[in-house]
Symmetry: C2
Subunit: 149 residues, 2 copies
Amino acid sequence: MRTVRPPVSATRACYATTLRKASRRLTALYDDVLAPTGLRSTQYAILSELADGEPVTINELARALVLDRSGLGHSLRPLQRDGLVRLDKDLADRRSVNVTLTEEGRRRYEQAFVLWRSAQDRVAEVLGTSVADELRDQLNGVAEDDRLT
Amino acid sequence: MRTVRPPVSATRACYATTLRKASRRLTALYDDVLAPTGLRSTQYAILSELADGEPVTINELARALVLDRSGLGHSLRPLQRDGLVRLDKDLADRRSVNVTLTEEGRRRYEQAFVLWRSAQDRVAEVLGTSVADELRDQLNGVAEDDRLT
DNA sequence: CCCAGATAGGGGCATATGCCCGTTATGATT
DNA sequence: AATCATAACGGGCATATGCCCCTATCTGGG
């Protein structure tokens, strides 16, 4: 016996694939909006994580962003090269590297922040603020759920 | 004056960043589960989109997966190299390239399908089936929403 | 004090994604 | 039939991510 209604396509059934599709769609939107600053979504995310000013190690940053530590190291190179972040050996634990925003990095971040907000507004406008916020909060839960490992 | 409760971190506020974090978390889980097959999540997604057997062009595939056309072209190379998919010029429109699963590709897909289901079950078990399904359905909506462009 | 085990990164390699530009093939217009 | 706009790719380049292995440091027993 076959289902009456056509089953959803295989990729629409997969939790991970759906998440990646939605992620690509939204990332493209933010990338477009942020383009004038020369920053990409991921780069913006890194800068915003550093924006409070407290130095963080690569490991801490990776955990906060749910990123692979090595991968984050690579992603920091362009930012360091462009003078937006600084990497300093931690004096107390010389295995660690502290990442901080440079002045230039802060300027760039603040410039991007304005555009970022307009991207956020656009999403809230399309999905509805409460829907978007609830969705985001649920996804933060998924992102931080250690059982999903 | 400062806020009483610590504000959510900047990256937890961003719709796109949250989506990418959750996406990375879940993709890592699926990659782990699929590892024995030598397929990654994205590759599995491509194969599953081809699994119904009807040939699709690179463009159609890209749209279905919310992927950049050029990027998808690159992603197909490893699959073609490993003999899992075949690329043929469309006879009717020779600009187009039809992508189809090879026999080997189908075998691999079916092998991966079993593991994929266990990954799905794991997610459903952690989040709850109805929560996970609703979340996924909402995200499919986001992925397909042309207003988010 | 010394060593075994654990931890933080770096480097290399492979895939993932996207953008831009150039080429080829269609199709609609004149 | 010549023309021109459009569509589908391919190739090159840059960042995004992750994995694995190696090195430099810590750290907690002996």
